[in-house]
């Protein structure tokens, strides 16, 4: 079976799509060097370096998508969307509604996200909840190479704006660029199953809005995305040793949510623990809980999310982000809690 690293899978899927669809172009800072393999295959008309002008090139990418191109706009990291968020939330997300459904902005915004390598709170945020809050935006967070490539294919076929987030801890390329810089003296807690894994011979889209059950269980549902999936899988092993059967639901898509899979799993287990590297307040964890409450499904609830600005100090960062020990402890605590 063919295996690939997380970043390789995305770029391979992109290359496959670019070869068959000449409307796909890539825009981003330093992209001609960062994506040099795509540059030498598809040329500098389609793989374009931008100035450090996010508002201009994201806004232009969105309008170009409205006028027939299929731009993949790359940002250095999702945190930098702060500089140009207007283009995404006030324009890309609104075109379809404003035009009475007659016009869309099929742009893909690709951005590395999340932490685990000690770069501080302005460079390690997840922000998918913040983005998913806006009607009209699709938000994808793959956790394996196969999903990364497959969801990129789906993003490129989507008839609207898609934010495609890549956890940096899964990407050899980003970890080298932003974390180790070639050093052999630093190590990161990289989940091996997420960093490298089996991929299909030919890329097919992974459906948007469809969660994946990574581990079937009956006592508790752990809903998660990105790095959280791998941390939860490790915690599930520890729980299994204690006789607890955890079901791991990798949401893969933050918006639209796969509510049927969530309902099915939580109806079965009666317990939901949300593991979310994004912020706790007003985010994914609260949304999952509200969705279940509206449906009238009885369940015990707990969540493990990032509550503060992510500390720069690596040891404190590890405590601020959901980790295996805390997932294990939270699951145990939730199951021990008396109902009512």
């Amino acid at each position: 079976m063919k295996t690939m690293s997380f970043s390789q899978a995305i770029d391979d899927a992109l290359a496959q799509a670019m070869a068959s669809d000449p409307r796909i172009i890539l825009l981003g800072e330093d992209i001609q060097l960062m994506q040099r393999a795509l540059l030498v295959r598809f040329g500098s008309k389609r793989v374009r370096n931008t100035p450090i002008s996010e508002s201009a090139f994201l806004g232009a990418g969105i309008a170009a998508s409205m006028a027939g191109l299929k731009p993949v706009v790359e940002l250095y990291m999702v945190d930098f969307l702060g500089v140009c968020i207007d283009a995404l939330i006030n324009h890309a997300a609104k075109v379809e509604a404003f035009s009475g459904g007659k016009w869309t902005a099929p742009v893909v915004v690709r951005a590395p996200c999340s932490g685990g390598y000690g770069d501080g709170g302005q460079h390690e945020q997840s922000l998918w909840g913040w983005l998913a809050h806006i009607p009209g935006l699709t938000v994808l967070v793959p956790s394996t190479p196969a999903d990364a490539g497959g969801l990129m294919m789906a993003a490129l076929q989507c008839d609207g704006p898609v934010v495609f987030l890549e956890p940096k801890l899964l990407s050899e390329m980003w970890l080298d660029f932003l974390g180790s810089g070639g050093r052999r003296t630093v190590k990161y807690d990289v989940p091996p199953e997420g960093a490298k894994g089996p991929v299909p011979k030919k890329w097919e889209p992974v459906p948007i809005g469809k969660a994946a059950v990574r581990c079937v269980g009956s006592d508790i549902t752990i809903a998660c995305v990105g790095i959280g999936v791998h941390r939860a899988m490790k915690a599930a092993e520890l729980l299994r040793a204690d006789g607890i059967s955890a079901e791991i639901l990798d949401l893969r898509t933050v918006s639209p949510l796969d509510t049927p899979s969530l309902f099915e799993s939580v109806s079965k287990t009666g317990h939901l623990l949300v593991v979310d590297e994004d912020y706790e307040g007003f985010g994914l964890s609260g949304e999952l809980s509200a969705t279940l409450l509206e449906r009238g499904i009885p369940f015990q609830f707990s969540r493990l999310c990032t509550q503060t600005t992510i500390p720069y100090a690596h040891s404190r960062e590890e405590q601020a982000l959901p980790n295996v020990e805390r997932i294990y402890a939270s699951a145990k605590e939730l199951l021990l809690a008396l109902p009512g």
């Binding site: 330093d30 001609q32 060097l33 295959r41 040329g43 702060g82 810089g181 500390p311 720069y312 404190r316």
Partner: protein
């Protein structure tokens, strides 16, 4: 002038030794994440910061450690911050891209261009609360394409804010050269917004010191902002471990993995015509060659070596100063690395 040169050299040397120690700690894996050093731009920082007084403010980019040190902020606390220690300047929360000192009105940001609005705001507060104070914004030439910085130049101009906009121009936006990303002329851009421009040689600390002195006096007397444009060479590139610099330093390890994927990609069916593919390859090689040609080794581009060459006429005094600063820095580093008794 000679007196100033001695003290400016002292500032620059202290900063250089400090940042060399930071680089060692980073290579040893004791500092995490990215590390942007100011080595090579000390002439600009020293030439500006030397003019600052108690009430003045600084808005810094992701490369602010040198300015913090030269402003007189405790280097032990800065270094502990970089080590992520709870007894660091910001309790280990910020790291080198997010250094803050409220009492010095010094704030950093890892967001490119953010120093523009921050300096404008510091200057606005200064205009009302601290007459004759100024605010300095430090940023690279790449950030001149960022909307918020251009907007800040305009804002400072119409409000006559006491801002010194300091453009540290090393001719590289990470791996992108200005020819690819920056249209027109930066000085004319600033002038077009009504901000007067002074050009200094960032490799020559006196050139910056003189230009900055006049611009800061102008701001203090209520005449508004100035754009100080100074060229420099960053001795470590954009950040430590940048692949282009690694190619320079360790070609045997860094070059072999590069051609394989490129050759595979250029031969892959489907894609651009062969001519365009070769053009893509040329773009990659141009960047690598520009790095190889980069004038890092030429002492003319190192503000410390240049100043030292002048001060060497008083060899005894120079030796004494260097010994004293080396000793001071050794003590700072020892003290910063000392574990706290718990």
């Amino acid at each position: 002038m000679q007196t100033e040169l001695w003290s400016l050299y002292g500032l620059m040397l202290k900063s250089r030794l400090f940042e060399e120690a930071i680089a060692c700690l980073w290579h040893e894996g004791r500092i995490s994440g990215e590390m942007h050093l100011g080595t090579g731009e000390e002439g600009i920082i020293a030439g500006v910061v030397d003019h600052l007084r108690d009430d003045d403010a600084m808005a810094l980019d992701h490369r602010g450690s040198a300015a913090f040190l030269m402003r007189g902020i405790d280097p032990v606390l800065i270094l502990r911050e970089l080590l992520g220690r709870p007894d660091g300047l910001c309790g280990g929360m910020g790291g080198h891209m997010h250094l803050f000192s409220k009492e010095h009105l010094a704030a950093s940001s890892g967001i490119v261009g953010a120093a523009g609005p921050a300096a404008a705001g510091f200057a606005l507060a200064g205009q009302i609360l601290r007459p004759h104070s100024v605010a300095v914004a430090f940023f690279g030439e790449g950030s001149m394409n960022q909307g918020m910085l251009m907007e800040s130049l305009n804002l400072a101009s119409v409000w006559k804010l006491p801002v010194l906009f300091v453009c540290k121009d090393d001719g590289w936006a990470i791996t992108t050269k200005p020819a690819q990303s920056t249209a027109g002329n930066l000085d004319e851009r600033a002038q077009g917004l009504g901000v007067p421009v002074v050009v200094a040689d960032g490799r020559d600390v006196m050139s910056v010191w003189e230009a900055a002195g006049k611009a800061i006096e102008r701001a203090r007397s209520g005449l508004g902002p100035t754009f100080l444009h100074a060229r420099c060479v960053h001795l470590e590139g954009h950040f430590l471990g940048l692949q282009l610099i690694r190619i320079l330093r360790d070609p045997l390890r860094e070059i072999p993995p590069i051609p394989g994927p490129l050759i595979k990609s250029i031969l892959q069916p489907g894609g651009a015509p062969f001519r365009e593919r070769l053009e893509g390859l040329r773009i990659v090689f141009t960047v690598v060659i520009a790095t190889l040609r980069d004038p890092r080794r030429d002492p003319i581009n190192d503000p410390l070596k240049r100043t030292r060459a002048i001060l060497r006429s008083e060899a005894g005094r120079l030796q004494e100063l260097e010994n004293q600063i080396q000793k001071e820095m050794d003590n700072i580093i020892t003290s910063a690395l000392m574990e706290v008794a718990s």
